[in-house]
Structures are given as C-alpha cells and as structure tokens.
C-alpha cells in the first residue's frame, strides 16, 4: 500500500528538529526509515507529521576511545558493520550487525532508529542491553543520558518523550581478552529472530570466568538480560556443566509466543542459541588469554 498523507519536515539542525517535535501533535521522527516506512506503507501508523532527521549529519559517526565507544544515532547500520577499528575493539558489533536485515536495509537503517523502534528481536537493542549502553537523548530541556535498562520500558516502548530525539549511544568496551558471540535463529536469513543470544565473557589464566554478560532477544516482549545465567557462570570453570547450568536456569525470563513460534518453542530455540553462544564465547576468551601468555 501507500503511506497516508502527512506533513513533512526536514530540519537542518537538532534544535529545529526538537522545536518541531515540541510544537507538533502526533509527529514521528524519521531516521533510516527501515521500520517506520514499512509501517507507513502498511498503514499501521498514521502520523500527522514526519520529522526527517537525515540531514542532522552531526549525530552520525563512530568514535572510539580506550574506555568509551560513542556511536551517533544516525550512523547507518552498514557503517557500524564495516568499521574496522570498532571490529578490532569489540568484534561482537560486526557479528550482530551481519544479522540485521539485509545490506539494502543496513545501508539506510540506523542504530538510533533500531533502538527507538525497539523490536523484541532487535539485534542492536539486544546488544545495547548486553553492553549496559547509555542512550543519549536531547529535548527542549537539554541532553540526558538514559541507562539502557531504563530506556527499554516495554514492548516497542523506548523511554523517551515525544519531543526528545536520541542523539548517540555510548558503550564501555571490554578488555582485549574478552570472548564474544552473537547467535540467532530465523527461518530465513535477515528475518526477525525467533530467539537470539548474545554473550560476553572474561576468563583468567586458569579458565575461571571473571566476568559474564548474557542478553536474550526475541523471547519476551523486550530483549532481556539473563542475570541468573550470568551469576551461575561467574566464578565457574566455564566447562560444559557450567554452560548447561546457565542454559537450564531460564525461570526468570519472560516468554511470549506468537504465530512465528509458541513460547515453548522460542524458549527451546533460545536455549540452543545460548548454548552455542556460550560455547563460542568461552573458547574465544580462552584462546585470546592463551595467545596473551604465549
């Protein structure tokens, strides 16, 4: 179908964009458009106005410091996927981005747009939660940073006001010896995942897990941290038994079924993805630690 009529604005500055949002009822921000345009074409949404932020070039780009990764909200997904410095620091970004849609959608789609759309299976939201990202938003009252667990307020509900725009996402990189994995299952490559598992781990010279983060996408109404699994891994030897314990203990996770897959099926898929992701991340961490000591 075709989009319903709307008023179209393309401000040249962030201030103008916020001012338009502030004074306009029922306006939506148009970032990369890879979800919003589809929803407009299907007439799932009827905004009175679109505020196109594609000319806000200041809020695009990847900045990498030793202790901070800052990605502008309008950075295209394909740009993040191909950024070599980011890949060397945190290879999980490329691994996750390769699973986001297809090259044509990644050429337009942005990190800020993905986070604000907040699909439960969104790889970027799952990754942001895994990395305890801080989401920077700007509104009439100025800029603020929102911890990702406060930003994710519910099913496709980002924690920002109607007159705020997400401008950047900040992450803290892990040590050079961390292990990573992002695994998901979808019926066709590029579809929304039935379930996904993202894992980061650190191990010491004896193989003991000294840090662990696990994020599960697709299973519930939002991406979720698997805190019980993290606790079980921490201090363990990272063996098969430790992996199985973390995979088994899904009690605290929300599970929702839909016509793509029932709750039990999603849980079963999430467990398989988590088992594979833990296995891969733990062996990558061991390898990196081994190379460091070689």
């Amino acid at each position: 179908m075709k989009p319903p009529p709307f008023e179209y604005f393309r401000p040249e500055t962030l201030g103008d964009a916020i001012a338009i949002l502030d004074r306009t009822d029922n306006a939506k921000v148009l970032a990369g458009g890879q979800s919003l345009m589809a929803m407009l074409n299907l007439r799932y949404v009827f905004p009175d106005a679109l505020v196109d932020i594609n000319n806000l070039f200041d809020i695009a780009g990847v900045e990498l410091d030793r202790d901070r990764i800052r990605i502008g909200a309008m950075t295209r997904q394909r740009h993040i996927e191909l950024d070599d410095a980011l890949y060397r620091s945190m290879p999980i970004f490329r691994e996750a981005l390769k699973l986001v849609g297809h090259r044509q959608t990644r050429n337009r789609g942005t990190i800020g747009g993905s986070l604000c759309h907040l699909d439960p299976a969104s790889e970027l939201a799952t990754l942001a939660l895994l990395l305890d990202a801080r989401i920077e938003a700007q509104g009439p009252a100025g800029a603020r940073q929102i911890p990702v667990d406060e930003f994710i307020t519910g099913f496709m509900m980002p924690g920002i006001a109607h007159n705020e725009i997400v401008t950047a996402v900040e992450f803290t990189p892990w040590s050079p010896t961390h292990g990573h994995a992002f695994m998901e299952f979808s019926r066709r490559h590029g579809d929304f995942a039935i379930a996904s598992a993202a894992v980061l781990v650190e191990r010491d010279d004896h193989g003991v897990v000294t840090d662990a983060a696990i994020s599960i996408g697709g299973l519930g109404s939002t991406p979720q941290r698997h805190a019980a699994g993290e606790a079980l891994l921490l201090g363990s030897d990272g063996s098969r038994d430790a992996i199985e314990a973390a995979v088994e203990d899904f009690g605290a996770l929300e599970m929702i079924g839909d016509f793509h897959g029932g709750a039990e099926y999603r849980q079963s898929v999430a467990r398989v993805m988590l088992r594979k992701a833990l296995d891969t991340a733990l062996s990558r961490a061991a390898q990196k630690r081994g190379r460091l000591n070689a």
């Binding site: 458009g33 345009m37 297809h102 090259r103 959608t105």
Partner: protein, 158 residues
C-alpha cells in the same frame, strides 16, 4: 508539494512530489522508469532495489523528497545508450538468470553494488548479498552462476 531535483542514470530530473510519495513510485509514475519493480511495498522482497549515492536501498522505504540532490541509479541505466547490455545483464542471459524477470532489476542493482565493492566475491558472499532479494521462481542457482561468471571474466578467465 515538495520540489525535488536529482540525477537519475546520469540525467538531471526534476519533479513535484507529495511528502508521502515513495522514491519507487516517483521513479515509476513521474519519471516513467518502470524497470524498478514493486513487490511487497514493505521492504521485504527487494524488487525495488536501486542505488542512491552508490548504496543499494529499498526504493519503497525511502521518500522521493529524501532523494532530493541524490545520485540515483536504476536498472535502466545499466545498458549502454547503444543498447549493449551491462556485463552482468549479459551473464544473466547466458546462465538463464531470469525466469519471469520480476525480481531481476532488484537483483541486478544489488549485485552491481556488491561487484563495485568486491570484484571477486565468493559464492557465499554472493548468496549473502542477494539474501534480501526474493525470487518467486526460485532461480537463485542460475543467478549466483551469473555473478560467478562475471567475476571470473573480470579476472581474465575465459
């Protein structure tokens, strides 16, 4: 209405569009470039893939007004003005990469972007690149063969 001026296949084009007009509809209805096909109109099928400033995009997921000032390439721009086919189009013909032809313009534009980035893609890279282009005839194998053929010719193989 919004005035737009853009370069389409090397030609300066202008138009007056509603905010809600997609780039795909503008190309087809205003400029008469019906080579860009529309299948699903929600970004899944890939038939409407065109290049905007060199990057492959879904023309159904972009507004025409957003292409103001852009360089747009569509399937009509692939063949030479004298009618000689683009090497990729030739390879599609040679390997039977077309069946009904509906997905072909999107496939071609996606692969043009791939080959500009990487003149010698592997079969896996080709399959990954066209994963966002659906062929209802399921003729993927001969499409992959066409790309491998062009890549091999590029390297001077027979």
């Amino acid at each position: 209405m919004h005035e737009v001026a853009l370069l389409v296949n090397g030609e300066a084009r202008r138009g007056s569009v509603e905010g809600r007009t997609t780039l795909a509809d503008f190309l087809r209805h205003e400029l008469g470039l019906t080579g860009t096909h529309l299948g699903c109109e929600h970004g899944v099928c890939g038939a409407c893939t065109v290049l905007v400033d060199g990057a492959s995009v879904r023309a159904c997921l972009m507004l025409a007004v957003q292409a103001d000032g852009a360089i747009v390439e569509t399937v009509e721009g692939l063949a030479r003005p004298n009618g000689d086919l683009h090497p990729l189009q030739d390879a599609f013909r040679e390997t039977h990469g077309l069946q009904c032809g509906f997905c072909t313009p999107g496939m071609l534009m996606t692969i043009v972007e791939l080959l500009r980035e990487n003149g010698a893609p592997t079969e896996a890279e080709i399959r990954d690149a066209i994963s966002g282009n659906i062929c209802r005839c399921t003729g993927y194998q001969s499409i992959v063969d066409a790309v491998l053929k062009v890549a091999a010719e590029d390297r001077g193989a027979p």
